[in-house]
């Protein structure tokens, strides 16, 4: 009894990073799986989310209602419950066999995140002023061309910051898959900790790893956001992307000088035009 106390006390006070270094491969496997699941799920969710957003804004009442229901239901279920429900409940009831928890996890994440992302995309699209669509139509663009050329590029700018938040959320939420036995980062850390009793070191290590992962995502989105920022910060963006901008500027300058050197514009005066 007293010996055990001593052992425990020692473990609290001593700090041994060696356990991390010895098991880097296991943690690295976890990181890879975490990233893999996050990236695939987020990709599918983004793809689905665009359709959710479009369906939600559909002029057909039935389609819009269906999309609204889809969003409401999926957003209302706790993610952990949803994962368990998919993996154990749905799979068994319908006789589906998910080869691994990974597939079930990706399935659950993709569905639930598509609902959240759909709402983000919808708000982005709706943030584009109505006049933009009208101006595009007025110069002869059809609905698809208008969406792709005029609406989407502006909607993306609005949607990037909240989408970035969702992506960070996805990386963190992927830890929930430990519950269905997916050997992502957290699960591997748990296994390791249970084997070595080095809880503090190991959990500290994965805290740091999650921090690195989410910070990477955060700065990636920041980069995109700046890259796509309209004009206010054009000067700073230009400095950062100097080669591209310089080429483009040069081309425009050449064009400008060439046109300026042309003979003044000929007026097509129709003498009888004004009575």
């Amino acid at each position: 009894m007293s010996a055990a106390t001593v052992v425990l006390a020692q473990q609290v006070v001593t700090f041994s990073p060696k356990v991390i270094l010895d098991n880097l491969d296991l943690l690295w496997d976890g990181v890879q799986l975490t990233v893999l699941v996050s990236v695939i799920s987020f990709g599918i969710a983004t793809f689905l989310g665009v359709f959710v957003a479009l369906a939600r804004m559909s002029e057909r009442r039935a389609v819009a209602t269906f999309a609204a229901g889809y969003i409401n239901i999926l957003r209302s279920i706790p993610l952990l419950v949803f994962i368990v429900f998919i993996y154990y409940g749905v799979a068994i009831y319908f006789g589906l066999t998910f080869a691994t928890g990974i597939q079930a996890g990706i399935f659950a994440f993709s569905l639930q995140y598509s609902a959240w992302l759909g709402e983000i995309f919808r708000s982005g699209i709706q943030a584009v002023p109505k006049g933009q669509r009208e101006a595009a139509m007025a110069v002869g663009m059809g609905p698809v061309r208008t969406f792709v050329t005029v609406i989407l590029p502006q909607a993306v700018r609005v949607a990037i910051p909240p989408t970035g938040n969702m992506m960070v959320g996805m990386v963190k939420d992927s830890a929930l898959l430990y519950v269905i036995g997916v050997q992502e980062l957290f699960r591997n850390a748990q296994l390791l900790a249970n084997r070595t009793f080095r809880y503090f070191e190991i959990y500290l290590a994965i805290v740091v790893i999650y921090l690195v992962l989410t910070t990477t995502v955060y700065y990636g989105m920041k980069f995109l956001e700046q890259r796509l920022r309209p004009v206010d910060v054009l000067a700073s963006v230009e400095r950062r992307f100097a080669p591209l901008e310089r080429r483009r500027r040069e081309r425009l300058r050449t064009l400008r000088d060439r046109i300026a050197a042309e003979a003044p514009p000929t007026r097509i005066v129709a003498p009888e035009a004004t009575p």
Binding site: Q132, A135, V139, G140, P230, D232, R256, I259, A270, A273
Partner: protein, 256 residues
Amino acid sequence: MGPGEQAETVIDLRGIQKWFDDNHVLRGVDLTVTRGEHVCVFGPSGSGKSTLLRTINLLEEPQRGSVRILGVEYGPGVDGEVGRGRAPAKQLRQHVGMVFQQFNLFPHMTVLDNVAIALRRVRGVDRAEAEERAARQLRRVGLLQKVSAYPSQLSGGQQQRVAIARALVLDPDVMLFDEPTSALDPELVGEVLGAMRDLAETGMTMVVVTHEMGFAREIGDQNVFMDEGVIVEQGGREIYTDSREARTRDFIRAVL
């Protein structure tokens, strides 16, 4: 065009009726615009003048009435000939340019791209040629130096001139202006009216919804006073000094 020769009809609206839900905003409007003519439409807010202008390029679809542009029917038709032989709105917009009150430039594109984009994406002109033609139009409105600027770097007056160039580059048969100076600071109104005056002098067919009565009096060949969804009075320049209708007189007195 010699004397006695009939000018070509560019716009022919007949029996235009438009409801927004229960609100009957256009109650049977007829308007004919011939080539080279400058039409000014004025009237109190809510009179339907902007809606009328927007039906000309079908940004608003009238529920009833005939919208003929260069002889082609785009509207639902007057009673009895409903929906027959309607051409698509996209075709109509090849002939009709529009300038908006709020400019509506594309903020994520340079000035040059704003003007060139429709040539490239709608007309299928290759990039080099489209940019060249866009630059020429920008020169016409005095903004060639701004090709690489973004709309938010321009004043309202400059933005509106870019919008004019964006419409002109498509070589329209008629230009629509929806209160083009109403969103501008007073000191910027002049440059936009100047560009429009120049355009009028080239013989461009124009329909202008405006509160600038001085400008209307200057360029308006046909002047239309609207109120409550109908044309109350229309005529030449005498409408501003010698109108027949009391409502027209009251309105002109109030805005001058």
